[in-house]
Symmetry: C2
Subunit: 487 residues, 2 copies
């Protein structure tokens, strides 16, 4: 859009929403990217609005719908797949001013928050009430509850507690052509309507804009106890399968593969290190676990876990400060990215019984393309963050790593898994979305999208196959960097 | 439809699906009703087909879609709201021949079954593998897994384990205009598409026909221990709230109110009876609980529960044979219906903190209309089966009881709850469906329905407000018996 057209657009929006709701053109920089900027993804919106309230969000949507102007909903901007980036222009609708906590009712285990309340604040408010908000995606300080719903965010604790959707009992959402809907209720079980809350959850801003969320909170466990299980890579699948089959209700069952652990072991806060360290990385496969419940229940789980661990010749490093271990785990991303300056990570998901097969595949892809590879993720859920180290200044290497990442996505599909377990599709994974779906499933997605966004203006092109739902171009294509417009 | 037209329809369907897939006209009797026959609901289909396989179901749907013929999907026929009844004719598509168990994989906690496998068989297969399929709606021997998905069935254990949806990782479903779709995957977490599995779950056959289900199974708890807590009606809400706030993860937290317990106490299998029995029913409010987990964990929960119970002057009757207690609980329905010959029961759901308010309202409605009232249900989820005793031979009384039931639905809405927690909407609750929803929510439901069933032929009129989604007639209306056609 030409700059005079943008000026006129901003004026129109200011008239509609109030001048303070339209971001000055010099201030739009931060709205031109999300965390997918790591792969060069940027997009300049034609305008950025930040309505003062939910009604303003609906009004912004209505104005855009009337004027055939596309809308890019934006929360904390921590997404990794470009879901909040205006790659083809349009109006970014930021919910940043919807940051009120409407109410916390500890005795009822409920909380009502507007969309821009950060995940960290939701967790803190729950904790201060003696309760727990289980979902724990990364970047909690920046990520917002509205975005958590829009991506159905997970995290380590999703293994036991499920993703964000499970903790959402109601939503206030702006729907096309620009109306507010309140979905769900205080009743824990409601069989009256279609599950539109579930449909909106994980829809990545393509079906509506979340403006407020009604959350359920869990009782906080009396005891939380982390541990790290070290074993050889060869033993890891058997150990994982036995833990999964045992009925042990671990709160967290994460993994850090041997190459990743080797890269991050310098800062590892545990008392013990892998026994086989002198044999290279082969004995340093780590499962990060967390047990929770009453002190008795945790002790019982720990001894059951220890028995399984022992049977596999592994050992359990169990004397941790919980906060310290999680700080190390949360820092993994940065530490590994720092080794060579950067990394390309892809989030894939496979059936848990094929986790080690997937990890071997991630390594094989790295070998073939001459890249250092490692992986970590949520073993219990089969979620793998397949990672290739790069020197970000070396464009050719970055391209190779992006190619590797794409091959990892194909690998996940070949193993009966998914191209994304947590991060969503956004624009980054469009070309493989639906590659393993049948025609009726593809068509149903298109029908649902058209039902709630008949003009196709809500986050256009996101979470949609290249070519759209009706004519998807699903042949896996050679990797390409998505550079968008410079910002 | 005239009988010669029906004959011609049956011939067409026999040509399309094979003669053995079309039910003879003299054999359609059992397909003319579901469990809503208790309230006089019947409907004669124009034809009944029972395809041999999933492809046949899709073919039946395709034929009907091509010929603008409505389709009424049918499972076990245990529904209570007429969801499987052809109230306006059409072709009943029974999935009864899709009764194969495709595979049970205990070590992976997965099971693949066709739609007509009974809930009891799913549970048994899980149990025989040392696992558990938690959903436990009533009528397990007749109800089928496809119908359980179509209604997102719950039951007592849904309090801890969630409804059917939580245990479904994938669906094979016939979608309009007649294609099979496979939704979901073996990956435990998949962020790639819209949650169409969740959308189909609970859609009551209005969006597609479930032909097979991929289930997750839970580890079977080592110890399961039931108990009954007796308290006064006045103490019940405080006790419930304290249990809910305590963080105790009870597997079941059901209730049987004092009037219901008084009616069923003759067969109560417990060692103790309510202490206040001589004071009438006021001290006979019962919570039926179940604790599960390791023996240690159960013992610990039991002592924590006992402390709460003691603080409310209640007492815990805890020495039961589990099977015996559940047989008694499962028989409640029949016992109470037998007192005067029949009953009208409505399934409502309220926020759990308003349970006793709802129960008082159920009684007040009974008093006002001169009916004996009682209730039981799932206290933890706020689900109330509001029940009015009738002499089924007394049509005027039955009408009054139906009126009472409708008032109970309005009561649920007034308390911030729902007109159905478990049983669904079917045809029985259409006139109140959406009565407390905003216009955008109503419209969104209509759009989703039209997206997946553009001709409106899938179970028409079910789970839809009177007048349809676009022009709902939502004013609460005087109760009426739905008599349909005689069968």
């Amino acid at each position: 859009m030409a700059s005079d057209a943008k000026l006129s657009l901003r004026k129109d929006l200011a008239r509609e929403l109030g001048a303070d709701s339209v971001v000055d053109s010099e201030q739009v920089g931060p709205y031109c990217h999300d965390a997918a900027i790591q792969r060069g993804l940027r997009g300049v919106p034609d305008a950025v609005v930040r309505p003062a309230d939910a009604a303003g969000v609906a009004r912004a949507l209505r104005w855009c719908y009337r004027h055939d102007c596309s809308v890019v909903p934006r929360g904390g901007g921590t997404g990794l797949v470009g879901g909040a980036v205006a790659v083809d222009g349009g109006v970014v609708v930021s919910v940043e001013r919807l940051n009120a906590v409407r109410g916390v009712y500890p005795e009822l285990g409920r909380m009502y928050v507007q969309a821009a309340v950060s995940t960290a604040n939701v967790s803190r408010l729950a904790r201060e009430s003696g309760l727990m908000f289980p979902p724990d995606p990364g970047a909690a300080a920046q990520s917002q509850i509205g975005g958590n719903v829009a991506t159905n965010a997970g995290g380590p604790h999703a293994f036991k507690y499920g993703p964000t959707r499970r903790w959402v009992s109601g939503l206030e959402v702006a729907l096309a052509p620009g109306e507010l809907a309140v979905l769900g209720s205080d009743a824990r079980k409601d069989a009256s309507g279609y599950d539109l809350v579930g449909l909106l959850a994980g829809s990545e801003g393509t079906l509506g804009i979340v403006t407020a969320v009604q959350l359920r909170l869990a009782p906080a466990p009396a005891t939380v106890s982390p541990g790290v299980v070290f074993c050889s890579t060869a033993a890891a699948q058997g150990l994982l399968s036995d833990v999964l089959g045992s009925g042990l209700q671990l709160a967290v069952l994460d993994f850090i593969d041997a190459p990743a652990f080797a890269l991050a072991r310098g800062s590892y806060p545990g008392a013990e290190v892998p026994r086989g360290e002198d044999n290279g990385t082969d004995d340093g496969f780590a499962f990060l676990v967390e047990l929770d419940g009453s002190a008795t229940a945790v002790a019982e789980q720990r001894s059951e876990l220890a028995a399984i661990v022992g049977a596999h010749g592994a050992h359990l490093d169990g004397d941790f400060d919980q906060a310290q271990l999680w700080r190390w785990r949360d820092g993994l991303n940065g530490v590994i990215a720092g080794i060579r300056g950067g990394k390309v990570s892809e989030d894939i998901c496979v059936p848990a019984e094929r986790l080690l097969e997937a990890l071997a595949g991630v390594q094989a892809i790295g070998s073939e393309l001459g890249l250092e590879a490692c992986a970590w993720g949520h073993a219990g859920d089969g979620i793998v963050h397949a990672t290739y180290l790069v020197d970000t200044a070396d464009g050719e290497e970055v391209d190779r790593a992006l190619d590797a990442g794409r091959r990892a996505l194909s690998l996940a599909l070949a193993l009966g898994g998914s191209i994304t377990g947590e991060h969503g599709v956004g624009v980054v994974k469009r070309d493989l979305l639906g590659a393993n779906w049948d025609a009726a499933t593809l068509a149903a997605h298109g029908h649902v999208k058209a039902a709630l966004d008949p003009k196709g203006l809500l986050n256009p092109g996101k979470k949609e196959p290249l070519g759209g739902w009706n004519a998807p171009q699903l042949q896996p294509q050679p990797a390409h960097r998505i550079d968008g417009r410079s910002c």
